[in-house]
């Protein structure tokens, strides 16, 4: 949504309300960027009327598209793509912009032929069709999924230039499916079952071992994302969701669950997704994504203009709700509380804002969150003091964005 200069005028008479704060901030940062994009686009796009009130608009369409003026895209590598957090508003990630991570591509799966097999330490091995799974009582909830490799380039040096590069392996959707516990009851879990192998039907046949206790509490077998069937990149037609756990455990294209007494020691929980410590040992089964926050605006690569700036960001915790977010504009010397916006949900990002004035001074912006367990997001120094520089995964330190005197924003280690 872009606010026009005219829109600003209509609020001009009133006191500096929250609404006007927003309008002003969006205009300042968004307008220049948007204008730059409009020019080359106009040539190829549909004719843009001088006055849209004088020409009939487009007819309805079967499946909507975003405005041709909007350009936010995922940034793709060979086996992952990053969500453009700097371009998004609110807590939900548009399905088309949800980050991707796969180990041998996105498979094509016909839902009519897809099956979920549950076997191992069960009373009765069973097979479920997608139709079977959709007939169970359903559950919907918002939850983030964060790859444990999110921000991995930040351990040693400021690695990413933009928040998309530093934090774009985290996205949020409303997920709908059936509780894993409900389907497992249907199958009958044997008393000695303690771990569950979950396997995807992609070309990596991705597998992870999941401890059964926590999985029985809130794991979902999901078939829908933001109200429609899962996107192929997100596991169509069926994926596991373990709210707050590292993304890799939320096996996509799920086709098999096998119950056993011990972890299965797959490559993805030995060679990968294990955190190497300074003494050469490695932590295994580091499942929860601990509390983390990041300022998405202003963030790396953006250009500030003097005047009012709304600092905006997201805070999330795999251990429940975010209770407090604080913002620092002086590199962590002093902190002030940010405003948390509804909804504040467990294992789901909370949006925060903080009104600020930038008058050309050098500044280092940081956000720091606390979750309902009392856990406080650590500084990078505190984190690397314990974990060293080689653990690759589970980096959740405070992010610093430096604002230079010319208004350029860049990634720094404060």
């Amino acid at each position: 949504m872009k606010h026009s200069a005219k829109g600003m005028k209509t609020t001009g008479g009133r006191s500096l309300s929250r609404r006007r704060f927003l309008t002003a901030a969006v205009s300042v940062t968004g307008l220049a960027a948007a204008q730059a994009l409009f020019r080359p686009l106009r040539a190829q796009a549909r004719a843009v009327p001088e006055d849209p009130t004088r020409v009939p608009g487009a007819p309805p369409s079967p499946y909507g598209q975003r405005s041709e003026f909007e350009q936010a895209t995922r940034l793709a590598g060979t086996s992952h793509s990053l969500t453009p957090l700097q371009d998004l508003h609110g807590i939900v990630t548009p399905s088309a912009l949800h980050f991707e991570r796969h180990h041998n591509g996105v498979p094509v799966i016909d839902p009519a032929r897809h099956r979920l097999l549950i076997h191992g330490l069960v009373e009765r091995p069973m097979i479920f069709t997608m139709d079977d799974l959709k007939r169970f009582p359903s559950v919907s909830r918002l939850a983030f999924i964060e790859c444990s490799g999110n921000s991995a380039r930040e351990w040693r040096a400021p690695g990413g230039q933009t928040v998309q590069e530093t934090h774009g392996l985290m996205s949020t959707s409303e997920w709908t499916g059936v509780a894993l516990a409900m389907v497992l009851r249907e199958v009958g879990v044997k008393p000695d079952a303690a771990w569950m192998l979950a396997e995807g039907s992609d070309a990596a046949a991705m597998t992870r071992s999941i401890p059964l206790g926590p999985a029985m509490e809130d794991a979902l077998l999901c078939y829908a994302q933001n109200g429609e069937p899962l996107r192929p990149e997100q596991g169509y037609p069926l994926r596991l969701l373990l709210p707050g756990w590292e993304g890799n455990t939320c096996i996509k294209w799920l086709r098999r669950l096998k119950l056993g007494t011990a972890p299965f020691m797959t490559r993805e929980e030995t060679s990968h997704y294990t955190d190497l410590m300074p003494d050469g040992t490695a932590r295994q089964f580091t499942m929860v994504m601990e509390a983390k926050s990041v300022i998405t605006h202003p963030s790396g690569g953006q250009q500030l203009r003097p005047g009012f700036v709304e600092v905006r960001g997201l805070a999330w915790s795999g251990n429940g709700r975010v209770t407090v977010v604080e913002v620092s504009t002086d590199g962590g010397r002093t902190w002030q509380p940010a405003r948390l916006h509804d909804l504040v949900l467990p294992e789901c990002p909370t949006r925060f804002t903080f009104p600020w004035r930038w008058e050309g001074q050098e500044a280092v912006l940081q956000s720091r969150c606390t979750d309902e367990t009392g856990y406080v997001q650590p500084t990078r120094q505190a984190l690397i003091t314990v974990r060293g520089l080689n653990s690759v995964y589970h980096y959740n330190a405070i992010q610093s964005w430096k604002v230079a005197r010319d208004g350029r924003v860049s990634n720094v280690h404060a």
């Binding site: 180990h103 097999l117 097979i127 797959t266 601990e290």
Partner: protein, 202 residues
């Protein structure tokens, strides 16, 4: 949807019925939910069963049951030697992992011993993997990258023999099969510790 008779019976016997489970318990659970004002909570509290899904056949399970555990569970019949492994590797793996498993361009499979506690750790099958059985599980399910699940058991056992030999873990005369593979002791077997978080002081 519920007749008055059903609802009456339900109120008196609901706990028994709901705990017993079964199709009947489900129907009564839903009736009760309707009776008390449309909440679905009660229907979801009941233990099962919804009568959805069907029993899986032995053949269906065997077709997908490809995982291999550290105990050796899941390892098929077959065997492989280092010599044969070198041939299969040259033909099906070297292009991506390098002629000796070190060169790449993809993940190195050989080397890195003694580097884990250094500033530049090299994590490979030889330096990092705790269980030899994971090699069977992973190579069969995921390699070669362009043709996963295409290797025969003899090929996989041979590749493992070669990789373990190149990493200095088994001798050149080693033969890998369902009995010998789980007995291989990987150098980093004791290198993994449970997650101690929260670990960073405030």
């Amino acid at each position: 949807m519920c007749t008055p008779e059903e609802s009456g019976e339900l109120v008196s016997s609901r706990f028994v019925d709901l705990r017993k489970g079964g199709q009947r318990g489900l129907i009564l659970g839903i009736c009760l939910a309707e009776l008390v004002g449309g909440t679905t909570v009660l229907a979801q509290e009941k233990p099962a069963n919804y009568g959805l899904g069907r029993t899986a056949t032995e053949a269906e399970i065997n077709k997908w049951n490809i995982d291999v555990s550290p105990s050796g569970d899941g390892l098929p019949q077959g065997q492989g030697t280092v010599k044969n492994g070198a041939k299969v590797y040259a033909k099906k793996c070297a292009a991506c992992h390098g002629p000796t498993g070190v060169e790449g361009p993809m993940v190195p499979l050989v080397g890195g011993r003694g580097t884990l506690a250094t500033p530049e750790p090299v994590k490979t099958v030889g330096s990092y993997w705790p269980e030899a059985t994971t090699l069977y599980d992973y190579i069969y399910r995921a390699m070669p990258y362009t043709a996963p699940q295409s290797l025969t058991p003899d090929e996989v056992y041979s590749l493992i023999a070669w990789l373990l030999f190149r990493n200095g873990i088994v001798p050149e005369r080693a033969v890998m099969d369902a009995r010998t593979l789980p007995a291989v002791r990987m150098p980093n077997r004791l290198g993994f510790v449970p997650d101690p978080r929260p670990d960073v002081p405030k």
